[in-house]
């Protein structure tokens, strides 16, 4: 075992892992974090805490992570390289680890263009691959990115994202390989609606043996409405929602659409459970956290293993 991470232990046990996420509030309301996290208790192994997601200011992911830790639950510190340089990021990693946060996700982050501070400077001192390298170096060599020794290095279980659907598709396996080369331990993918394309990507991943070097958690986001399906298809960059999924959502009356969305999510998990290389699921129910336990249960992923 490289770390004390619950996620690492679950994955090492051979069980399918289940992760979810909780977006911190846009204000000083710690109760909101705790409420959202409590909804997930017992249904997931660890809870990702997003970092200024969609380039909107929120409570910092490490602060919200500490609140979750205080509940006895396990947060995953998401960290984007957009807002801070390597000094600030390493400082936050040490700080978070000192509060019992031992799992993190390295991301570049949405461009400020998409958020509510489009006038902000973007930092990108490091990119996501370089951040992975930095955190792995801190853990395995006990050294800062700049090369000096760390007194009591933080031991993070290191994750990253992968989008099997972005263009050019032929590069998608190679980009994952690059993150593996940088030393990443686990991957959480973009939400999957085009299962055929995801399976093609997974085959490419397995052909290169990458599934034996990194745990891949398949991204699942239940859709609430047909409108959300259309929005994700047409407006969210890098998202692949096939026409038949939109049509299926549209084919049921509005009040039954949430239920249909959950059905699709559960069926997706059922099918992907059988796909070689899938080590678990990352269930991102955006502002719909209360539905995660139902999805996880219907997908046959309960109870969560004791590790």
């Amino acid at each position: 075992m490289k770390t004390e991470s619950r996620l690492e232990k679950v994955l090492a046990s051979g069980a399918l892992a289940v992760t979810s996420e909780c977006g911190p509030p846009r204000g000083a309301v710690p109760e909101k974090v705790k409420e959202k996290a409590e909804l997930l208790r017992g249904s997931v192994d660890v809870i990702n805490v997003t970092d200024n997601q969609t380039a909107m200011v929120r409570m910092s992911s490490w602060a919200a992570g500490i609140l979750i830790r205080q509940l006895g639950l396990d947060p995953v510190l998401q960290m984007v390289t957009r807002d801070r340089n390597r000094l600030a990021m390493q400082a936050d990693i040490i700080g978070a680890y000192s509060h019992g946060i031992n799992t993190m996700l390295c991301l570049s982050g949405d461009h400020p263009h998409f958020g509510d501070h489009p006038m902000a400077s973007n930092v990108y001192d490091l990119d996501s691959v370089q951040l992975i390298q930095a955190v792995v170096k801190m853990r395995d060599e006990g050294k800062f990115q700049g090369g000096k020794d760390i007194d009591h290095p933080p031991k993070m279980f290191v994750g990253a994202a992968a989008n099997p659907f972005a263009d050019p598709f032929e590069l998608r396996v190679m980009r994952l390989a690059k993150k593996v080369k940088a030393g990443v331990d686990f991957i959480q993918t973009q939400c999957i609606y085009n299962l055929d394309k995801f399976e093609t990507w997974m085959k490419g991943v397995c052909d290169r043996g990458l599934h034996e070097q990194v745990y891949i958690l398949a991204g699942i986001t239940p859709m609430k409405t047909a409108g959300m399906a259309r929005y994700m298809k047409n407006r969210v960059p890098g998202m692949d929602v096939p026409d038949e999924v939109v049509k299926r959502m549209e084919s049921v009356p509005k009040e039954q659409q949430p239920e249909e969305g959950i059905k699709i999510a559960v069926e997706t998990i059922q099918r992907l459970k059988e796909v070689k290389g899938v080590a678990g699921f990352h269930v991102m129910a955006i502002e719909w956290e209360e539905k995660v336990p139902e999805i996880v249960e219907k997908a046959g992923l309960l109870p969560r293993p004791e590790v």
Partner: protein
Amino acid sequence: MITAVRKPMEEIIACVEPYDRILLVGCNECVSVCSAGGRKEVALLASALHMHFMKQGKTMDIREMTLERQCDPEYVEELVTSVDGADAVLSMACGCGVQTIAARYREKPVFPAVNTTFMGASERQGVWSERCQGCGDCVLGITGGICPIARCSKRLMNGPCGGSTKGKCEIDANIDCAWQLIWDRLKALGLERRIEDIMEAKDWRTSRDGGPRKIIREDLAS
């Protein structure tokens, strides 16, 4: 002007070594003015390369050309026949020139022979200093004609910081403190009170933070 300095010889040699026929292309604009990549520097680099490869017992065919402006497709078109006779292009222009060649001759490898450095001005013979970062929203009118973005090491908009010492920057005594310069100039202009005007948080969208930039002049565009 855009300034540049030639890359170390070893790096240039490593790029062109695998080839037998090189087209070495200079530019008559900025890099010529800052003596990094004009006709003269092209000739010097060509002989240095000849010499190096001769010592290795290898004949390197180096064709020299210097274009009027390498960042202009019209002039880059002039390379069309010479490119055919070369295995690779070695460009002594700034990054804009290198990329114009790469875009035009898609199947020919192109290597930069200089490091593009900054937008600057000539201080005296042989000395150039950074003056502009192209933020896209010029503040020189309120900072006494001295740019705090390009010339303050922290790009402070409301300086100087506590590290300003005898007119110099805390990171290097050879760097003028931009805010000392701004202050001196405001005084000379009788505009001392300006220094207390708070410069609000900058909108960086007009700079590189807003993504790669483009100017489209409807009155000129074809």
